[in-house]
C-alpha cells in the first residue's frame, strides 16, 4: 500500500507541472494587464510601462515562467501584485473559511444524502421514493445563488435566526463559527446532496437485487442490517467516487457561495485575482486546487481498498 501511495504521488508530479505550465501560459496570453489596473485612469503610457517593469511583466515568457517555477521549487508562491503580500499568506488567510465551508457541506451531504438514497432505494416506487427523488431534482436544478438568497431571506431576514454574511474563525467559539456556515453549507450542499442521494439510490437498488441480499433476507436478517451492513458497504465504492468527484463541484460552488454570503474564502480570492489579473495569486490558487484534486483522487483510491478488500494494487 505504501509503495502504491508513493508511486501515485510521484506520478502526480508531471501532472502538476503540466497544469502549472498550462495555467501560466493561459494567463500570459489572456487579455488584460495588471499594470493598467494599478496605474489608474490618470496614468500615462510611460507610467504604465514603468509599473510593468517594476513588476517584471515586461520580461520574456520563458524567463517569467522559469523564475516562477524556481520560486515554487523553493517553497515560494510569490507576492501578490496588488497587495504586496506573500501569496502563501493570502491563501493561508482564506484557507480556513473555504475548508470550513467544504467540511460542513461534506458532512451535511453524507449525513443527509446517503440515508435519503438508502431510504429511497428501500422504498423504491413508493411516495417516499418519489418525494426524495423530486427533492433531488429540485436541489440539482436550482442554482446555488438562488438557494442562497432564499435561505438568507427566510432564515436571516424574516426569522432572524442566522446571520446573512461573514465568517468567524473556530478559535472565537464553536457557535460563532458554525452560525456563519449553516446557510452557505445548505446552499452549497443542495446540488451535492441531490447528486449523492441519486447515486446512492441507484447503486443500492442494484445491490439489493443481488443473491446475497436475498440470502440474508431468507436467513431472517432485519431490514436495517440488510441495508446498512450488507448493501451499503457493497454500494460504497461508487458513492465514495461521487463524493470525491463532488469535491470539484464544491470548489466551483464555493466561488458563488462565498460571494453570496460574503465569506472571505479562496473562491472569492480567485475571482478577485482574476478580475485584477493578479497573476501570482491566480497561479498559486490553481496550483493549490490541482494539488487538492490529486490528493482527493489518491484518497479515494485508498478508501476503495478499505471498503472493498477485493480491490488490490
Amino acid at each position: 500500500m505504501l509503495s502504491y501511495i508513493l508511486r501515485r504521488i510521484v506520478a502526480t508530479l508531471p501532472v502538476m507541472a503540466i497544469v502549472a505550465l498550462f495555467v501560466f501560459s493561459l494567463l500570459y496570453i489572456a487579455p488584460g494587464d495588471p499594470a493598467v489596473v494599478i496605474a489608474g485612469d490618470q496614468a500615462s503610457p510611460e507610467d504604465v510601462e514603468r509599473i510593468r517593469q517594476s513588476l517584471g511583466l515586461d520580461r520574456p515568457f520563458l524567463i517569467q515562467f522559469g523564475s516562477w517555477v524556481w520560486r515554487i521549487l523553493h517553497g515560494d508562491l510569490g507576492t501578490s501584485i496588488f497587495t504586496n503580500l506573500p501569496v502563501s499568506t493570502m491563501i493561508g488567510q482564506r484557507l480556513g473559511p473555504t475548508l470550513s465551508l467544504m467540511i460542513i457541506t461534506l458532512l451535511l451531504t453524507i449525513v443527509v444524502a446517503v440515508p435519503l438514497g438508502v431510504v429511497a432505494a428501500w422504498k423504491a416506487g413508493s411516495l417516499i421514493d418519489r418525494a426524495i427523488m423530486a427533492f433531488a431534482v429540485f436541489g440539482f436544478s436550482l442554482p446555488v445563488f438562488v438557494v442562497g438568497y432564499m435561505l438568507a431571506y427566510i432564515f436571516a431576514l424574516e426569522l432572524e435566526w442566522l446571520p446573512v454574511q461573514g465568517y468567524t474563525p473556530l478559535t472565537q467559539g464553536f457557535w460563532p463559527w458554525l452560525e456563519n456556515l449553516i446557510l452557505p453549507a445548505i446552499a452549497l450542499g443542495c446540488v451535492y446532496i441531490a447528486l449523492v442521494a441519486r447515486i446512492t439510490r441507484a447503486t443500492m437498488l442494484e445491490v439489493l437485487q443481488q443473491d446475497y441480499i436475498r440470502t440474508a433476507r431468507a436467513k431472517g436478517m432485519g431490514q436495517g442490517g440488510i441495508l446498512f451492513i450488507h448493501a451499503l458497504k457493497n454500494a460504497a465504492v461508487p458513492i465514495v467516487t461521487v463524493i470525491g468527484i463532488g469535491i470539484a463541484l464544491l470548489i466551483g460552488g464555493a466561488v458563488v457561495t462565498e460571494s453570496v454570503f460574503a465569506i472571505p474564502g479562496l473562491g472569492r480570492l480567485t475571482i478577485d485575482a482574476i478580475l485584477r489579473r493578479d497573476y501570482p495569486v491566480i497561479q498559486g490558487i490553481v496550483l493549490l486546487f490541482s494539488f487538492v484534486y490529486v490528493l482527493v483522487n489518491l484518497m479515494i483510491d485508498v478508501i476503495y481498498t478499505l471498503v472493498d478488500p477485493r480491490i488490490r494494487y
Binding site: P31, G32, D33, V36, V37, I38, A39, G40, D41, Q42, A43, S44, P45, D47, V48, R50, I51, S54, S80, F82, T83, N84, L85, M90, Q93, R94, Y149, A152, A156, L157, L159, E160, W161, L162, P163, V164, Q165, G166, L170, T171, Q172, G173, F174, W175, P176, W177, L178, E179, S259, V260, F261, A262, P264, R268, L269, I271, D272, L275, R276, R277
Partner: protein
Amino acid sequence: MDRRTVLKGLAGAGGLALSGGLSAPAIAQGASARTLRFVPQANLANFDPIWGTQYVVRNAAALVWDTLYGIDAKLQPQRQMVESEETSDDGKTWTFKLRPGLKFHDGEPVLSKDVVASLSRWAARDPMGLMIIAIQQELTAVDDRTFKWVLKQPFPKMLYALAKNNAPCSFIMPERIAKTDPFKQITEYVGSGPMKFAKSEWVPGAKSVFEKFADYVPRQEKASWLAGGKQILVDRVEWLVMPDPATAAAALQNGEVDWWENPIADLVPVLKKNKNISVDIGDPLGNIGSFRMNHLFAPFNDVRARRAVLMALSQEDYMRAIVGDDDALWKSLPGFFTPDTPLYSDMGGEILKGKRDFDAAKKLLAESGYSGQPVTCLVAQDQPITKAQGDVTADLLKKLGMNVDFVATDWGTVGSRRAAKTPPGQGGWNMFHSWHAGADCITPAAYTAIRANGDKAWFGWPNSPNTEKEITSWFDAKNLDEEKAAIGRVNKAAIEDVVYAPTGFFLTYTAWRKNVSGITKGPLPFFWGVTKSA
C-alpha cells in the same frame, strides 16, 4: 427565550464538546457600539495611495494619512497640517509652516523632511504634481517645521493641488516610507491621520480595520469634508467587503453592518421601506457618464461623425439605464463640468439639448464619409454602469445605421485594450464607456478626461488646440470671474470638437442604520463626526 437563543444554546452545548471547551466570547454591548462596520464601494486591494489610484484606496488613505491642506464642502482648500503659508511677491516661492504637535502613528514627530519626501513622491504620480515639478527650482526643508517650494514661474493653483481630493492626494508619510520609488508599493502604513491601519487584521478582499489614533490632534475648526477638526468618535472602523449587493442590503437590514457606501438603485426601495435604515444621496457631486470615441481612426477621426453621435444620443436613455425610474437621481448635462458647482457652465452645449435629430445626424455621418465599416465598441459587462451605457450606445449606433462590433468583456480587458493605439480591426477600438466622479470634474485640474492634447491626452487621444488653450487660461486665471469665463470657453471648445460624449449626470445613494449619526454628504465617506449608539 427566542429561537436564535435556543439554537445558540444547543450548538453551544454540542460545540463545547467538539471544540474542546472553546466558546464564544461575551461581547459587551458597548464594544459593538464603538465599532462602526462599513461596506465600502470596492475591495481595498492595496494600500499605497500614491502607487494605486483607485477611489477606495484614496478613501481609506484619508483615514490614515493627513494632508497639508484639505478641500472643504465649499470646494475651497483649507489648512490642515499646515499652520501658515507665505507666498513671495513674485509668486514663485511658497513657504509653509507645519502645525506643532503633529505625530505619526509610530510616535515620531512629523517633520519638514517627511513632507518634502512625501510631496516629491506624490508629485511624480499626480498630473498637477507633474506640472509643479516641471517648473520646480527646489523643494527643501528649512527647519523641522518649515519647508519651501521654489518655482521658476508662479503656480496660482498650488493650494488647490495640495488640497484636492482626487487621487492621488498629497498624503504625508514618514520620510523613510516616502522615499520609496513612486512606481513601487510601500509596505508600511504609518500616517499621522486620525486612525491607524491595523495591518495584522487586513484580509484584502474581505476586511480592513482602522483604529482610533489617540495622539491625533484635530484642528479646532468644525470638520468640513477633508478639512477642519477630524474628530473620530468610535474606537474602530471595520470595512467589510461585500461583492454581492443583495448580501450587503440584507446585512444592513439585519444589523450586521452599519453603513453601506453605495447601495445599487434596484435595492434602494427595499432599504427605504426599512424603519431602521436611513437612505440619502451620498455624494452631491455625483458622477458624469461618458463614452469616448477614438479620434485616431475612422469613423471618429472625423469631427462630423462624432458630432452626429452627440446630435442623436439621448442622455435620458443613458441615465434611466443606469439609475432606473428615480428622477431625483439624474439630470441632463449639456457639457462636461459638474452641475451646481461654482464654475459650472453649459456654454456651447446646444447640441446636447432639445429634441434628438436622427435625420440630421445620419446626414452628418454620411458627410463624414462613414460607409458601414465595423465600429468596435468595448463594453465591460462586469460593471453595471458601463454595461447599461454600452447597451444604450449599441442601440443608438444601430439606429444611426452604423455597423456595431459589440465587444462584451470585463473591465480588466477594457482597461488594457483601450490603451492600444492600433487600428480597431487589429486589437484597437472605436469606443469605450466609463464614468467620472463629479468631484474630479469641477475644474480642469483633476479632470484628465477633458484634456485634449493629442498623444498625451486620455484614451481616445483627442486633439483640440482650442480646448487646451482655454484649459491653460483657467490655470492662469487670477480670480473666480476669470476662472468662470475660462471654464465656459473650455466647455464650448470641448463640445465643438467632441473631446468625449457626456451621457448625463447621476447621483447615487448611501444607506446607514438609524443608530448611526453624523454621516455627511461628500465625494468620499467621511468618518470623523460619525457616532453609533448601541
